[in-house]
Subunit: 411 residues, 2 copies
């Protein structure tokens, strides 16, 4: 029977380069992964340039590409996607920013870019939303907390541009720069002015807020300034339903991935204990994915811990996390009504601690899929698979074909 | 450790088709190449369409593509590249030509297109540079000798076009045609007029030059006419440094390859005894490549003899030359601070004696490179490698990623 749905399981940054600590093998090559290997043996494998050969993908551009939205057309900076992920409904033309709660000394020097990795900033964000007044600019705004010290800002109004700089000095011990327009356009000038006023007013509100008085008493870094970056203008995204005729969900901890899912019309399914780190509730994410597949035709599930371990340049931890992932996948073997797709969004080699352009392994498993001779899910084995080397933008058309939702071109 | 530099070793025209003389194998398949095979075993292999599937590359268009300059955008004919390779500094808008010293009979019939393969034409070229006067056209020029009977001309002035024909009859026993404009544009008409006047004046200078009086005495063919072809207008090439942040060198005997290197800002390193033929000083080229890698981040080294043997339709000689190449590569194994890339610029099958569009083998070796299961460097083995089949234009992005000079697209 042709599968009626797709589970796209993105193991964020899971692929790597040879690691000296692992005898010149990658974490995927050395990890014990009986379930992934069984899936590889029963399915078809390949490698994928999520954007293009030699292009180092961000998590945002790669996920857009995997979902079939060419980033060259759809990507307008991380801000709008983060804002959507933080629960702000971004309308076309709104300007979105990523934000951090940070600590400024009395002389305004930034002394902690993450305000002591503060958690639970909801009360502070609510105070900013209530207290800041941008009506002098004829602009309204939404400000919401994200995970930890993170937040997002969205501006709405006439004549706003998105080409502005950041007030994040990117290091500590220096003054935050003013936000400046990057062009001579009036629209960018206006956005910069609005942002600087937002930063001024929100700083005053934070300075006198009871949460900060309590933090001061306890000797904790104050959360007394907002650092904004990643400005972008929200564009038009045809929804998944319109584009493919699929109802879908997104399961992820990272607000960025949630935001990308939401802008293309995927419903966000929250999973308690999902952290985006190696301690995440993986069992819960897989169970929720299977549950969502009962009602929907597409589920994007992102598991991020491997990327985190690689950013920390820790191949042993990455390997252990891969084995943890493998251990929770067993329930996926018990059903045959959906197509299971496993890949990474980009490689994150432990040797460089950041994303690379090395192609990612790709596995497609399910009824009707041609079975190649690959029996192991790793970078080298998958390169010998029947899918060869494809681009991320080709993935959705291939999946739609396999679930019989593709349209014939010609007659 | 991530490699800090790249050695791109282009074995010009080294790949082939099955040769009946070699039992249906290619020269690469039958040659004994222990060093290339070890590099293949330790690295990652693939095949490459230097321009695109089925497109027969020239050495010029393929090298531009390999260096990341799409020939559709950057290639404006061979003339400007040859002129740069002959030591003329080509400025944007200058018109470049390849030239030959040739022999005309008293009735002007061309009786030897290469003037008896004359060498050492420097004195003749200097006399032409001193004696020809194009000031009536408000045009200045540079005329320089290349290797053997070759030379190059560059014109500089207002209102010059590049769409003009050649005065090379391409065969002997006929009169050289006049150079004609290929369009109705005044600019092309002007260039044609300038060229015809240059050919007239240079012919007179050559006719009475002592070198030719000596050649006449010795019964050698006179070098008494210049044949021009390959007209092109010099365009803008962003330099390697601007484009990639890399300082580089080019090591080659062919003026065309030197010229391509120079137009993209690579410094030319001369190697005594480097001839572009099977008798070339290969040891010297490899030693010079390693030396350049000490000071620079990119070295393009071209070894041309294999192409020559194939143009001569001699598979045995091509095979022997491949074994000679293999023998000089050993010093490359002794260092691990650079990425070693070995490929051809195009295939040159002995069976057709010219370039073909068959993909070329590609090998990337160095720290951090994923290791596939290929253990031999030939057309068929490499086709099974982990790089699969890429395009020449993707090579530079892939290399920049591997030496950690790539930029993330997105966040």
């Amino acid at each position: 029977m042709t599968p009626r749905a797709v589970l796209l399981l993105v193991l964020d940054g899971i692929s790597d380069r040879p690691c000296p600590e692992l005898g010149g093998k990658t974490p995927l090559q050395t990890a014990s992964t009986p379930v992934l290997d069984r899936l590889a043996a029963e399915g078809i494998c390949g490698i994928m340039d999520t954007i293009g050969p030699g292009i180092r993908p961000g998590s945002d551009t790669s996920h857009l590409s995997l979902l079939g939205y060419p980033p060259e057309k759809y990507y307008t900076g991380r801000g709008p996607l983060e804002a959507e992920g933080c629960g702000i409904h971004m309308e076309i033309g709104m300007i979105g920013f990523r934000g951090n709660y940070a600590t400024a000394a009395p002389d305004k020097t930034i002394i902690d870019r993450r305000a002591g990795r503060i958690h639970q900033t909801g009360e502070l964000s609510a105070a900013i939303q209530d207290g800041v007044d941008l009506s002098a600019f004829d602009v309204t705004f939404n400000f919401r907390s994200g995970a930890g010290h993170r937040a997002a800002l969205a501006l709405k109004g006439e004549g706003l541009g998105a080409q502005v700089s950041s007030n994040d000095p990117k290091k500590e011990g220096v003054m935050p720069p003013r936000i400046r327009p990057c062009t001579r356009k009036k629209t960018d000038k206006k956005t910069a002015d609005v942002c600087n006023e937002f930063i001024r007013q929100s700083g005053e509100i934070l300075e006198r807020h009871p949460v900060n008085r309590e933090r001061k008493k306890r000797g904790e870094p104050l959360a007394n300034i907002i650092l904004l970056r990643g400005a972008g203008e929200m564009g038009h995204f045809e929804s998944f339903k319109e584009r493919y005729g699929l109802q879908g969900s997104v399961i992820a901890a990272a607000t960025l991935i949630i935001g990308i899912g939401k802008v293309v019309g995927l419903a966000h399914r929250n999973v308690p204990g999902s952290t985006g780190s190696i301690d995440s509730n993986l069992e819960g994410k897989i169970a929720a994915s299977l549950d969502e597949l009962n009602a929907r035709e597409f589920v994007l599930t992102n598991i991020k811990g491997g990327d985190e371990a690689a950013h920390d340049r820790n191949p042993e931890e990455k390997k252990r996390f891969i084995e943890r992932i493998d251990g929770v996948l067993t329930p996926l073997l018990e059903r045959d009504d959906f197509l299971l797709v496993i890949c990474a969004d980009h490689s994150t080699p432990c040797s460089i601690g950041d994303h690379s352009a090395d192609p990612v392994p790709l596995l497609i498993h399910g009824e009707g899929v041609r079975v190649d001779r690959v029996t192991r899910f790793d970078e080298i084995s998958c390169a010998e698979g029947g899918l060869h080397r494809i681009r991320g933008i080709s993935l959705m058309p291939i999946l739609l074909d396999l679930i019989n939702k593709a349209h014939k071109y010609g007659a």
